[in-house]
């Protein structure tokens, strides 16, 4: 139990003393997770929208697959991506293994199903009456689609936040693809795994607190922005 109180103490000492190693891991985490979430949203929102808004054969199968993939273990994504970007794999020549770009690709595949499924749900939930009203007002199919997306914007933001949470907290991809290389690919989560492996549980807890603080700040910023937009 004393790990917890030690952890809180260590968290403050680490942050206040400005330990370069820790700040490097924090910065790396922010950098790679920001990049990953932007990629994920750029691909996931359009895909999710198509899946929720349009009817096409195989739609339900796609939805079921996307829903299932939300539960894919991060280590499995790490292994699959490793198989492709290892030097002995098909994309080995790109030299992506043990780089942050490689990690971002893995995290993209982790976040994508979350964004796709939740965006699809949001779009589906738009009320038919709204759609009918818009149609009678002479909205073009394009305008109709745009307004549906706009209607579901809060749900899409929630999807983004959920995906971001999954991305920033994962350790499987970062460890397998990034390799936890000091000053290069060490993120907060891989650093926690390392400290725990070393038996320095308090440092692990401290880094966990740092990660939660980041999540808290991001969530807080989003909800403030949302309130502003609503008022």
């Amino acid at each position: 139990m004393h790990y917890l109180s030690d952890g809180f103490k260590a968290a403050f000492t680490i942050l206040l003393s400005g330990q370069e190693e820790t700040f490097n891991a924090i910065f790396t985490t922010l950098k790679v997770s920001t990049f990953s979430i932007l990629l994920t949203l750029a691909a996931g929102i359009p895909l999710g929208f198509i899946l929720g808004y349009y009817s096409f054969p195989g739609k339900h199968a796609c939805r079921a697959i996307s829903d299932t993939l939300m539960a894919i273990p991060t280590v499995v994504v790490g292994l699959l991506i490793y198989a492709f970007i290892s030097r002995s794999g098909p994309f080995g020549g790109l030299g992506l293994l043990f780089t942050l770009r490689g990690v971002a690709i893995g995290q993209f595949f982790l976040g994508l199903p979350v964004v796709v499924s939740l965006t699809a749900s949001a779009t589906e939930q738009m009320e038919d009456s709204t759609r009918l009203t818009l149609m009678t007002l002479g909205a073009s199919p394009g305008q109709l689609a745009a307004s549906s997306l706009w209607e579901g914007r809060y749900a899409v933001v929630a999807a983004a936040m959920t995906a971001y949470s999954r991305i920033i907290s994962e350790v499987g991809v970062s460890m397998m693809i990034g390799g936890n290389i000091k000053w290069r690919t060490r993120t907060i989560t891989t650093a926690i795994a390392l400290e725990t492996g070393k038996g320095q549980f308090a440092e692990g807890i401290a880094l966990g607190i740092v990660l939660l603080s980041i999540a808290f700040i991001v969530n807080g910023a989003v909800s403030v922005a949302r309130k502003r937009a609503a008022s």
Partner: protein, 274 residues
């Protein structure tokens, strides 16, 4: 408004891509075992290597099994591992070249101070046989790490094979420290490298639930070697840097540094380059 947002979005995208491709010094990639990383040995050696040669050493620390696999898949240039029998086979199979011994540390058998299997001060052989016949709980790494490979080799040598399904034999599939903790919870024995144990002992402020019972037997010496990944297998491999690292590790200066490296005041590695 929409336009400026779009511009902002793409500039962030481009900037992040640019930020990733910024560094490109001479980099040697190494796969090594958790023991060299967790003890801080590499943090101690790498800056010196950079100073002496201008090469940046980047390492991933994994189990020996995975380290060898990364070499086989050509994802690293050099290996620093400790499983001599497996390594020899690895070199014979053409995956690695220039295997050179650099140092050793030793393993110990730890267990509860009450010592139910009465192994204290015995040889490894006697200890293993006593644990097996008395059925005392024994935690095994079960993860193909160097430690696990040695343990299996010992069971084999003493005529037991692997006690795979025995009730007292616990395969954790986890790291050394986790395995020690599991052994402690089960009031049982385990085989560990000394470095991890020193850390474990320190976590309990010198009063750990498990203590050293068997040590100093030659069967417990743990030889580390540097192996270059066979350059014939991939054009991108930095064989030149791998050899520089191998030579550097075996130089008098670095051998002395390795001998002087200590963890919590206790020396860990014995240099023995040939």
């Amino acid at each position: 408004m929409k336009r400026s947002l779009r511009i902002l979005f793409f500039s962030v995208l481009v900037l992040s891509i640019a930020a990733y491709s910024a560094f490109s010094a001479e980099v040697l990639r190494m796969a090594t075992t958790t023991s060299t990383d967790n003890t801080g040995l590499l943090d101690y050696l790498a800056p010196e290597f950079l100073k002496d040669t201008g090469i940046e050493l980047q390492w991933v620390s994994v189990g020996t099994g995975k380290a060898l696999e990364l070499g086989k898949n050509l994802d690293v240039d050099v290996l620093l591992v400790h499983a001599p029998e497996v390594e020899k086979q690895y070199v014979q199979d053409g995956f690695g070249v220039n295997r050179r011994q650099v140092m050793y540390n030793d393993f110990i058998i730890i267990g509860p101070p009450s010592d139910p299997a009465k192994i204290k001060g015995k040889t490894v052989k006697e200890a293993f046989i006593s644990i097996a016949t008395k059925g005392a709980p024994f935690a095994s790494r079960g993860d193909k790490s160097g430690t696990h490979v040695l343990e299996l080799d010992l069971w084999e040598r003493f005529g037991y094979g692997q006690p795979e399904k025995e009730n007292w034999y616990i395969q954790t599939g986890q790291g050394m420290l986790d395995t020690i903790n599991i052994a402690a919870e089960k009031v049982g024995y385990t085989l560990t490298d000394r470095g991890t144990f020193i850390k474990y002992e320190d976590n309990y402020k010198g009063n750990p639930p498990l203590v050293i019972l068997v040590e100093g037997d030659e069967a417990l010496f743990n030889q580390y070697s540097v192996i270059a990944v066979n350059p014939v297998r991939g054009d991108h491999l930095r064989y030149d840097l791998a050899l520089k690292f191998s030579d550097w590790m075996r130089s008098d200066k670095v051998q002395k540094m390795i001998g002087e490296f200590s963890l919590l005041g206790k020396p860990l590695f014995v240099p023995n380059a040939k």
